[in-house]
C-alpha cells in the first residue's frame, strides 16, 4: 500500500472531485469554476509525468478494489494506458481552456463543466483499466457523462442527436457486457496482459471465442465509428465545438478504438487473433470504413459534418493498424491514436473559432477567411496537411508505419487503401485551404472589433495554435525518445516480446 498503489486511482479522481465541486458552484462564480477546471487539469498532468518515468523503467502501478465474485476494479498503468492517459490529460487541459473561452458566456455552465470533468475522469479510467470489467464500467460511465454534453444546447436537434447517441452507445454497451460475461465464463476473469490472456491460448475450440471477439470488437466499434455503426457521429455534431473536439479527438471515439486495441492485444493477443482468422474480417471493416468515411466527407458542405466523416475515416487507421497484427502496423496504429487526436482537435477548434467569430458553418462560406483569421486558418492548414499525410506533420508517420506494416504482413493492397484515402483527404481538405487563402470573400467579412487585439479571444486562439505546433513537432521530432512514435515502438516491443 504505497504511492504506486494509489497513483492510478488519483488520476481519474482529480477530475471526478473537481466535477463534483463544480456541480454545486453557483452559475456566476466564474473565476472559481475556471480555476478549479484548470487546476484539476494541471494537477492531472503533474500526476502523469512521474508515471511516464516509472512505466518507462518498468515500475508497477496497480490499484485493486475487489467488488463481487471475481470481478475486481483494477486500475493499472502500463505503456499503452499511459499513452492514452497522457494524450487525454494534455488535450483536456487545452480543451478546458478552449471551453472556458467558448462557453463561459453561455448558460448552465456548472452543469456543463461538471460533466466535462466527469468525462475526462471516465476517459482516464478507460485508459487505466486493468481488466475488461473495469474498462466497461468506465466505458458506460463515459456514455452517461457525454450525453448531457451532446444535448447541452437543449434544442430540438440536440435532443434528437442525444437520443441517437444513447441508442447507439447503450445498445453497444449491452452487447459488450454480454460479451464480457461470456468471455469470463469461458476462460475466467483475467487482467489485461501483453500478448493476450494466457487462458485463451489454452482453449481448443475457437468458435465461441470467435463470436465473443466479434461481439467485443463490434461493440467497441460503435464508439469507434466503424461503418455501419458510425451514424451517430455526424449527428452528434450539434454539440458545442469543444464537445465535438473532445468527442472526436480524445474521449468517445478514442475510447472505442482503444477498446478494440485492448481486445486485440491484451485480451486475445496477437497469436490468438492470427490463429482465429479474424484479422482479415477486421481489416475489411477498417478499410471499408476508411474509404466510406472519406467518400462521404467529400460531399459535405457543413464544416463540422465534413470533419465528422473525416474522423470516421481517420480513426479507422488505428483499427487498421491493430487489425493487421504485426509489429510495424502496431506502431503505426498506436502512434495514430495520438496523431489523429492532436490533428483532429486542432480542426475542431478552428471550426469552432469560425463559428464563434464569423458565424460561418459551411465550407462554401469560407472564401477569404485566411486574411481575417490567419492564425486559426494557419493551424487548420497544418492539421489538414497532416491528415493528408504530408511530412513533416505527424500524420505522415502514421501512414508510413501502417504502410510498412502492410508490406510486412504481405498485404500490399492496404497501401492502396491508404493512398486512396490520402487522395480523398486531399480532395476534401485542400478546397478548404484553397477557399481560405486563395479566394476573395463574396461578401465583406465582419471586421475585427477595435477593442479586440487578436483575431479572436486568446482563450480560443491559443488552443488551436498550440495543437498545430504540437502536430508539427510530433512529426519533426518523431525519432526522439518519448515521442509518441517512440513510445508506440515501446508498446509494440512489450507486446511482441513474450
Amino acid at each position: 500500500m504505497n504511492l504506486n498503489f494509489w497513483l492510478p486511482l488519483f488520476i481519474p479522481s482529480t477530475s471526478l472531485a473537481a466535477g463534483v465541486v463544480i456541480f454545486f458552484l453557483p452559475e456566476q462564480m466564474r473565476l472559481t469554476r475556471s480555476f478549479l477546471n484548470m487546476a484539476s487539469a494541471i494537477l492531472k498532468i503533474a500526476l502523469v509525468v512521474p508515471l511516464i518515468w516509472g512505466v518507462f523503467h518498468q515500475q508497477e502501478y496497480r490499484f485493486v478494489l475487489p467488488l463481487f465474485l471475481e470481478f475486481d476494479l483494477v486500475l493499472e498503468a502500463d505503456s499503452l494506458s499511459l499513452l492514452f492517459v497522457t494524450l487525454s490529460s494534455v488535450l483536456w487541459l487545452v480543451t478546458t481552456l478552449y471551453a472556458i473561452g467558448y462557453l463561459e458566456d453561455g448558460f448552465q455552465r456548472s452543469r456543463f463543466f461538471g460533466f466535462f470533468s466527469f468525462c475526462v475522469s471516465a476517459t482516464t479510467g478507460i485508459a487505466l483499466a486493468g481488466n475488461l470489467f473495469t474498462l466497461l464500467v468506465f466505458y458506460e460511465f463515459l456514455t452517461v457523462t457525454t450525453y448531457p454534453l451532446v444535448t447541452h444546447r437543449g434544442t430540438e436537434e440536440a435532443i434528437q442527436a442525444g437520443r441517437v447517441y444513447l441508442l447507439y452507445t447503450l445498445g453497444a454497451g449491452v452487447v459488450l457486457m454480454v460479451g464480457m460475461i461470456w468471455l469470463s465464463s469461458a476462460v475466467g476473469v483475467a487482467d489485461f496482459e501483453a500478448g493476450g490472456i494466457p487462458e485463451i491460448t489454452r482453449v481448443t475450440t475457437t468458435a465461441p471465442l470467435n463470436v465473443i471477439f466479434w461481439m467485443l470488437v463490434l461493440g467497441f466499434g460503435v464508439k469507434a465509428a466503424l461503418v455501419p455503426f458510425h451514424g451517430w457521429l455526424p449527428v452528434a455534431m450539434v454539440a458545442p465545438a469543444p464537445v465535438s473536439a473532445l468527442l472526436h479527438a480524445v474521449a468517445v471515439v478514442k475510447a472505442g478504438v482503444f477498446g478494440i486495441v485492448r481486445v486485440v492485444y491484451d485480451v486475445f493477443g496477437v497469436e490468438a487473433v492470427t490463429a482465429m482468422g479474424v484479422r482479415e474480417g477486421l481489416i475489411f471493416f477498417a478499410g471499408a470504413t476508411i474509404l466510406y468515411g472519406s467518400l462521404r466527407a467529400i460531399f459535405q458542405d457543413d464544416f463540422k459534418r465534413r470533419l465528422a466523416y473525416s474522423t470516421v475515416s481517420q480513426v479507422s487507421y488505428i483499427t487498421l493498424g491493430t487489425a493487421i497484427v504485426g509489429p510495424l502496423a502496431t506502431i503505426g496504429g498506436i502512434a495514430h491514436l495520438v496523431h489523429q487526436g492532436i490533428m483532429k482537435i486542432t480542426m475542431f477548434f478552428c471550426a469552432g473559432n469560425l463559428a464563434e467569430e464569423l458565424h460561418f458553418h459551411r465550407i462554401s462560406e469560407l472564401r477569404g477567411v485566411g486574411r481575417r483569421m490567419p492564425l486559426t486558418m494557419g493551424a487548420f492548414t497544418v492539421a489538414a496537411m497532416g491528415m493528408i499525410g504530408v511530412p513533416p506533420m505527424a500524420g505522415f508517420f502514421s501512414k508510413w508505419f501502417l504502410s510498412l506494416g502492410a508490406l510486412e504482413a504481405d498485404m500490399p493492397f492496404i497501401i492502396g487503401v491508404l493512398l486512396l484515402s490520402s487522395i480523398l483527404n486531399a480532395a476534401y481538405f485542400l478546397p478548404i485551404i484553397y477557399y481560405a487563402w486563395f479566394c476573395e470573400p463574396e461578401h465583406p467579412l465582419p471586421e475585427r472589433p477595435a477593442t479586440q487585439r487578436w483575431e479572436i479571444h486568446p482563450y480560443l486562439l491559443l488552443p488551436p495554435v498550440f495543437t498545430a505546433l504540437v502536430t508539427v513537432l510530433l512529426g519533426l521530432l518523431a525519432a526522439m525518445p518519448l515521442s509518441p512514435l517512440s513510445w508506440a515502438r515501446l508498446i509494440m516491443f512489450r507486446e511482441y516480446t513474450p
Partner: protein
C-alpha cells in the same frame, strides 16, 4: 576550407533549410511596416547553400538522429553541382522579385518563395528518404502559392492542374519509398537505392519513381501542368520553376534509382523514347506559342529530354552511367542558368534605364542568353552538348542515330523558337510602358552574365576538357550548320511568311477532355460543394472533369442518396434492433457450436 571548425557544418547544413523558413515565417506573422528589412534579407537566405557549395565540398555528413525518421544532411560531388546552380538561380530570382513584385504583394510572394526555396535547396542536401520526401513536399506545395500568385483565371486553372499532379506525384513516390524501405530498412538514399537493385520488385518501384519524379521533370505525358503553371506564375517564380524546380525531379530520379547498378532494358528504352519525343514535341510546341513564357515552358520540356534520356540510357546500359551523369550535370547547370536568364528577360527591357549608351549595351547583352541557349560555338550551350556526343558514341545501334537526329533537329528548332521568342519580346516591349528599375535589371544582368560565363564554373568543377574542346575552332564546324540553317529559316519565314502559325493551346492533351467536358456539363446535377473553383477559363479543370466523369459513370448520386438514407434509417431506431439481432444471432451461433 579546412580551417573551419567541424561544428560549423552542423549549423550550416540545417541553416540552408531553416534560415529561409524562419524568414518566411517571420514574414507570415509580421506586419507590413516591420517586414521591409526582412524582405530585403529574403533573397540572401540562399547564401548558406552557396557557402556550402564553395567551401563544403568534402565535409562529413551531419546527422540529426531525432529529426523525422532520423535525418542526415550532406553533400557529394553530384549534388554539389545541383546545389550550385539552384542556389544561384534562387538568389538572383529573389533579388529580381524585390523589384518585380508590387510591394503590397511581396510579403505573400516571399512567404511561398522562401518556403519553396528551402524545400528545393534542402532536398539537394537531404541524404535520407524521410527528409528528402518532406522537403520535396514542402517545395511542391509551397510553389502552389507561386503559381496562383496573380489570382487570375489562367493562374487558378494552372494551380488546379498543378495541385492535382502534385498530390498524384506524392502518392506515386510514397509507396515506392515505403516498399523500398520495407525490403531493405535503409534510410540513407544511397543505401536505399543500392538495395533497390537487388529488390525483386525493383522494376515496379523504378516505374513508380520515374512517374513520381517525372511529373516534376515534365516527362511526357505528365508534362501538362508545366506549360500552364510556368507562365501563369510571376516572372521570377517562373524562372525558378522552370530553371531549378524542374531539376528537382531529375535529381530525384538520379539519386533514388540505382543508376549504374540496375539494368532494365525495357524501362530504359521507354524512358529514352519518351525523352526523345519530349525533346522534339516540346521544341515543336514551343514554336507555336504566342505567350513568351509558355514558349519557354515548352522549351523546358524539350530541354529536359536529353537529361531524362541520359537517365534512360543508364537504365538501359548501366556502364554508361558515369558518362550520363556528367552529361546531366553539365546540361542541367547550363539549362538552369540560361533558362532563368531567358525567363527574367520577359519584361526586363521595360526596366532598363532610358539613358542611351547603357540601354543599348543592355539590349545587346540581352542577346547573350539567346546565343548560349541555342548552343552557339564556345558558349555554355555548346559545351553542354559535348558529353552527349560521347554518350552517343557509346550507345548501341539504333539509339545513337536517333539521338543524333533528335539533337540536330532540336538544335535547329531551338534557334527557330528563340527567334520567335525574341519577336514576342519585342512585341511585348513595344506595348509596355517603360519603368526603369535597377532592382529588376541588375539581377537579370547577373543571371545573364552567369549563363554567359558558365565556363568558369565548369573549370572549377573539373570539366576543363569539355570547355577546351568546345573552344577549339575544330568544334565550330560540327555545331554551326543546324544553327545557321535555323537562323536562315527563321529569317525567311519572318520576311516572307504570310500566315501566322496556329497555336497549340498550352496544356495540349489536357484539351482532349474539352468536348467531353462540354457534354458532361449539361448533365451535371449540382454538387453540394465544388471541389475547385468554377471552370472559368476555356479549358477544363482536371478535377472537376474527373468528378463529372465520376458522376456520369459511377453511381455517385445513388451512393449519396442511398448512404444518406441508410444512415437515417439506422438512426431512427432499427439500430437498437439490429444490435440486439446481432447479439441474438451470435448467441444462437454459439449455442449451435
Amino acid at each position: 576550407m579546412n580551417s573551419l571548425h567541424p561544428l560549423t557544418w552542423t549549423f550550416v547544413f540545417p541553416a540552408v533549410i531553416v534560415l529561409p523558413l524562419l524568414v518566411a515565417l517571420a514574414l507570415a506573422v509580421g506586419n507590413e511596416r516591420k517586414s521591409r528589412w526582412l524582405l530585403t534579407l529574403a533573397p540572401w537566405t540562399a547564401m548558406p547553400a552557396l557557402f556550402l557549395v564553395l567551401f563544403g565540398g568534402d565535409t562529413p555528413d551531419v546527422h540529426l538522429p531525432f529529426i523525422l525518421l532520423g535525418t542526415t544532411l550532406g553533400l557529394d560531388a553530384f549534388s554539389r553541382v545541383f546545389l550550385l546552380f539552384t542556389s544561384l538561380l534562387w538568389w538572383m530570382a529573389g533579388l529580381h522579385a524585390l523589384g518585380y513584385i508590387p510591394s503590397n504583394r511581396q510579403r505573400e510572394f516571399f512567404g511561398f518563395f522562401l518556403a519553396a526555396m528551402a524545400g528545393n535547396l534542402g532536398l539537394l542536401i537531404a541524404r535520407d528518404i524521410g527528409s528528402f520526401y518532406a522537403l520535396y513536399a514542402l517545395m511542391s506545395f509551397a510553389s502552389y502559392g507561386l503559381v496562383v500568385h496573380l489570382r487570375n483565371d489562367p493562374a487558378r486553372y494552372a494551380g488546379n492542374v498543378y495541385l492535382v499532379l502534385v498530390v498524384l506525384g506524392e502518392m506515386l513516390l510514397f509507396p515506392a519509398l515505403a516498399a523500398g524501405y520495407a525490403a531493405s530498412e535503409q534510410l540513407l538514399i544511397a543505401d536505399w537505392a543500392a538495395a533497390l537493385a537487388e529488390n525483386p520488385n525493383g522494376p515496379m518501384l523504378t516505374i513508380l519513381l520515374l512517374l513520381g519524379f517525372g511529373i516534376k521533370a515534365g516527362i511526357l505525358p505528365l508534362h501538362i501542368w508545366l506549360p500552364l503553371a510556368h507562365p501563369a506564375a510571376p516572372t521570377p517564380a517562373s524562372a525558378v520553376l522552370s530553371g531549378a524546380m524542374i531539376k528537382a525531379g531529375l535529381f530525384g530520379m538520379t539519386v533514388f534509382l540505382p543508376l549504374g547498378a540496375l539494368q532494365s532494358a525495357p524501362i530504359g528504352a521507354t524512358v529514352m523514347v519518351l525523352s526523345l519525343a519530349a525533346a522534339v514535341f516540346g521544341a515543336g510546341a514551343a514554336i507555336t506559342q504566342t505567350h513568351p513564357k509558355a514558349l519557354l515552358a515548352y522549351s523546358s520540356i524539350s530541354k529536359m529530354g536529353p537529361m531524362t534520356f541520359a537517365v534512360g540510357a543508364a537504365l538501359y546500359e548501366p556502364t554508361l552511367w558515369p558518362l550520363a551523369a556528367t552529361g546531366i550535370l553539365i546540361f542541367a547547370m547550363y539549362h538552369a542558368l540560361t533558362k532563368g536568364a531567358l525567363f527574367l528577360s520577359v519584361g526586363a527591357a521595360a526596366a532598363f534605364p532610358t539613358a542611351k549608351p547603357v540601354r543599348t549595351l543592355l539590349v545587346l547583352t540581352g542577346f547573350l542568353p539567346l546565343l548560349v541557349f541555342a548552343g552557339f560555338p564556345a558558349t555554355g550551350g555548346a559545351i553542354a552538348k559535348l558529353p552527349f556526343k560521347d554518350l552517343k558514341a557509346a550507345l548501341p545501334a539504333p539509339w545513337a542515330a536517333w539521338l543524333n537526329a533528335v539533337l540536330l533537329l532540336v538544335a535547329f528548332a531551338t534557334v527557330v523558337l528563340l527567334f520567335r521568342f525574341e519577336l514576342l519580346l519585342i512585341r511585348d516591349a513595344k506595348a509596355a510602358t517603360p519603368h526603369p528599375s535597377r532592382r529588376i535589371w541588375i539581377p537579370w544582368l547577373g543571371v545573364v552574365l552567369m549563363s554567359a560565363m558558365i565556363h568558369i564554373a565548369y573549370f572549377g568543377l573539373g570539366w576543363e576538357g569539355y570547355v577546351d574542346a568546345a573552344l577549339s575552332p575544330g568544334a565550330w564546324g560540327a555545331v554551326l550548320p543546324p544553327l545557321l540553317i535555323g537562323l536562315f529559316f527563321s529569317l525567311a519565314v519572318w520576311r516572307w511568311g504570310r500566315r501566322p502559325i496556329p497555336t497549340l493551346p498550352p496544356g495540349d492533351i489536357l484539351h482532349l477532355f474539352r468536348p467531353l467536358s462540354r457534354f458532361l456539363t449539361r448533365l451535371t446535377p449540382p454538387f453540394p460543394v465544388r471541389l475547385i473553383s468554377r471552370p472559368t477559363s476555356s479549358a477544363l479543370p482536371i478535377v472537376a472533369g474527373t468528378l463529372r466523369i465520376m458522376q456520369k459513370w459511377l453511381p455517385v448520386k445513388p451512393f449519396l442518396e442511398g448512404s444518406g438514407q441508410i444512415e437515417k434509417w439506422l438512426m431512427e431506431g432499427p439500430l437498437a434492433g439490429t444490435l440486439v439481432l446481432i447479439l441474438f444471432l451470435s448467441m444462437i451461433l454459439a449455442l449451435a457450436l
